[in-house]
C-alpha cells in the first residue's frame, strides 16, 4: 500500500536480483544486435572463398577456423545469424498474431465455434512440426518468406491451443461476467479483458517457440529447404560441415554452438518476461 505508484519492479531492479535472467536478456540483445550489425563488423567476407585457407582450425586470423571452401566460419556464423534469428523471430510472431485470435475466439464463445476452430487447428497439430515445415517448404519452394510461413503454420495450432485454454480459464472469472453486465460486447471483452490476462503465458510460449523456430529453421536449412547457398545460415553451415566432420569440424561445431546459445538465451528471456508481466507476483 505504501508504494502504489511504483507498483511494477523496474527492469533494472528486477534484473539486479536475477543474475541468470539478466544474463539471458543480455545474451539475446547481444545476439540480435550482432545479427543486425554483422555486415559491418565481420572480419572477412562470409562468401569469400580461398583454396589456400580451406579447412583451417581456429587461429588469430580466423577465430572460428575456416570451412572447406576457405570461408571464415566466424563471419559466416555472424551473418548466418541474420537468417536464423529473423526467421526464428518472425515465424512465431506470425503464428501468434493469427493463432492467438483464433484461440481466443474459440475459447470465449465455445460451442460449435470452438469445435470447428479447434478441430481444424488440431488437424495441423497432428503432423509433427518438422514434417509439416518440410512439406510446406517443399511445396512452396525454398525461400525466406516460405520458411517463415512454413514454420508459422507449424507453430500456429500450438498458439491456438494455448490461447484457447487460457481463455477458457479467464472466461470463467467473474470479472468477465461483470464486464458483460457492464454492457461490453464480445470483441471489447476479448481484446481488453481476455488478451491482457492471458498475455503472460503467451509471452512465455512465444519466447520458447522462438527457440523452437530457430531449431526448425536450422533443420529446414539443413535439409536444404531454408536459406540457399551461398547465403550462410546456421542450418546450412552444419550441413556443409557434415561432409567432413572429422577433418574440419569447426563450421558445424560453431554453428551448432550458436544455435544452442540462441535457444538458451530466448528460453531465459521467456521466464524473465513471465515473472515481470504478472502483476501479482512479488519480486
Amino acid at each position: 500500500m505504501s508504494d502504489l505508484v511504483n507498483r511494477r519492479p523496474t527492469l533494472r531492479l528486477y534484473l539486479a536480483g536475477n543474475k541468470l535472467t539478466a544474463a539471458g536478456m543480455i545474451l539475446s540483445v547481444l545476439l540480435v544486435g550482432l545479427a543486425a550489425l554483422s555486415p559491418l563488423i565481420v572480419p572477412h567476407d562470409p562468401l569469400d572463398q580461398s583454396f589456400l585457407s580451406a579447412g583451417q582450425g581456429p587461429s588469430g586470423e580466423y577465430w572460428f577456423g575456416t570451412d572447406a571452401f576457405g570461408r571464415d566460419v566466424f563471419s559466416r556464423v555472424l551473418v548466418g545469424s541474420r537468417i536464423s534469428l529473423s526467421i526464428g523471430i518472425c515465424a512465431p510472431l506470425l503464428a501468434a498474431a493469427t493463432g492467438v485470435w483464433v484461440g481466443m475466439v474459440a475459447g470465449y464463445f465455445g460451442g460449435w465455434i470452438d469445435r470447428v476452430l479447434s478441430r481444424s487447428s488440431d488437424l495441423l497439430m497432428s503432423f509433427p512440426s518438422l514434417l509439416l515445415g518440410v512439406m510446406i517448404a517443399a511445396a512452396l519452394g525454398p525461400s525466406f518468406q516460405n520458411a517463415v510461413v512454413a514454420i508459422a503454420i507449424a507453430l500456429f495450432p500450438r498458439f491456438v491451443r494455448l490461447a484457447r485454454s487460457a481463455t477458457q480459464v479467464v472466461r470463467r472469472e467473474p470479472f468477465i461476467d461483470a464486464s458483460i453486465a457492464a454492457g461490453r460486447g464480445p470483441l471489447t471483452i476479448i481484446l481488453r479483458h481476455v488478451l491482457p490476462n492471458i498475455g503472460g503465458p503467451l509471452v512465455v510460449a512465444l519466447s520458447l517457440w522462438i527457440a523452437t523456430a530457430i531449431r526448425l529453421e536450422a533443420a529446414l536449412s539443413f535439409l536444404g529447404l531454408g536459406a540457399q547457398p551461398p547465403t550462410p545460415s546456421w542450418g546450412n553451415m552444419i550441413r556443409d560441415g557434415m561432409s567432413d566432420l572429422v577433418g574440419d569440424p569447426w563450421p558445424a561445431a560453431f554453428a551448432g554452438a550458436a544455435i544452442t546459445l540462441a535457444v538458451l538465451a530466448f528460453n531465459m528471456v521467456g521466464d524473465a518476461l513471465r515473472d515481470m508481466l504478472d502483476p501479482e507476483l512479488d519480486v
Binding site: M1, L4, V5, R7, E173, P174, F175, D177, A178, S179, I180, A181, A182, G183, R184, G185, T188, R192, H193, P196, N197, G199, P279, E280
Partner: protein
Amino acid sequence: MSLLAVEDLRVHLFTRRGVVRGVDGVTFSVETGKSLGIVGESGCGKTMTALALMRLIPAPPARIVGGSIRFDGLDVVAMDAARLRALRGGDIAMIYQDPMTSLNPVFTVGEQIAEAVRLHRRDSRSAAWLRATEMLRVVGIPDPHRIAGAYPHQLSGGMRQRVVIGMALACDPKLLIADEPTTALDVTIQAQILDLLRRLQGEFGTAIILITHDLGVIADLVDDVVVMYAGKVVEHAPVRRLFADPQHPYTRGLLRSVPSLQTREHRLRTIEGTVPSPFAMPTGCSFNPRCALVRDICREQEPKLLPAGDATRAACWALI
C-alpha cells in the same frame, strides 16, 4: 409506471436430466428510487431472476420461456443486442458477490472505472479518469487519486467492494442489482458496505434490488421484500410487515432460524427437511413436504399469490 415491472417471468434450464424451472412465474415491480430485497435459500432462483433482468442468464442451458420484463417502459425480453449493451451498465448496473474476482487483475481500479464510464458516455479520457477518482471519493475511499493507480490485489476486500460499487454507479444507473454484495466480506466490513449502499441510494436516487439469503442484511436497507422458494414467490411484503407479521409458513421458518439476542434458546431453530430436488418437485405447493400446516389441497394444487393482510401477498392454502 414502475421503473421495473416483472410479470410472470419463467426461466427454464434445459439440462440433460430434464427441464428445471429455475424461475417459475415470478412477478414483482420496483419503483424509481425504491429498493427491493429478494430473499431465499441457495438455488431458489433469486440469482437467476436477477440475471434474467439484464438477459444475462447463461444460454444454453437457461432460457426465458415466458413472462415479461419491462424496464422504463421497454421490453427487455425482446431487446436487440445493441440496445441490451446500452442497458447493461448504463441503465442497470450489477454488483457481484465476490469483489476479489469481479475486478480485472491486470488493470488499475482507476482505469477500470474510467473504461466503464467511457463505455456509456462520450467522455474524453481525462474526463473519464476524473469521474473515476470522483467515484472513488464518493464510495469513501481515502486518497482516491492514489488508489486510482492501484491494482485490485493491492486493496482489501472491503475497498474492492467499494470500487465495484463506485464502478457500478459511475454511469448513473437507474437500477442497481446487488447479488449478495456482502457475503464475501467480514462482518464489520459488511455493515460499512450496507451503510454505503444506503447512503448512495439517498444521494443518487438509484433503485436497488438486493439479493441475499441473509435476512439481517435486508432489514434496514430495502422497502419491500420478495421471498422466493423453489423458483416461485411465496411472499411479497413491505419489509416491516414481513418482520412483524410474516404470513407464509416458509417466511416464518426463515425468520425463526435467525438467531436472536433477546430470547434464550439453546438450539437454533431450523426448517425441517431440505429443498426438493429440481428434478423431483412435489406437486401442488413446493413447500408442502416441509410445511407443518400441510393439508390435502397443498399436495394437489399450487397456491396463487394472493393478498394476505395489509399490503402483503402470500401463496399459501393455509391463509385462504
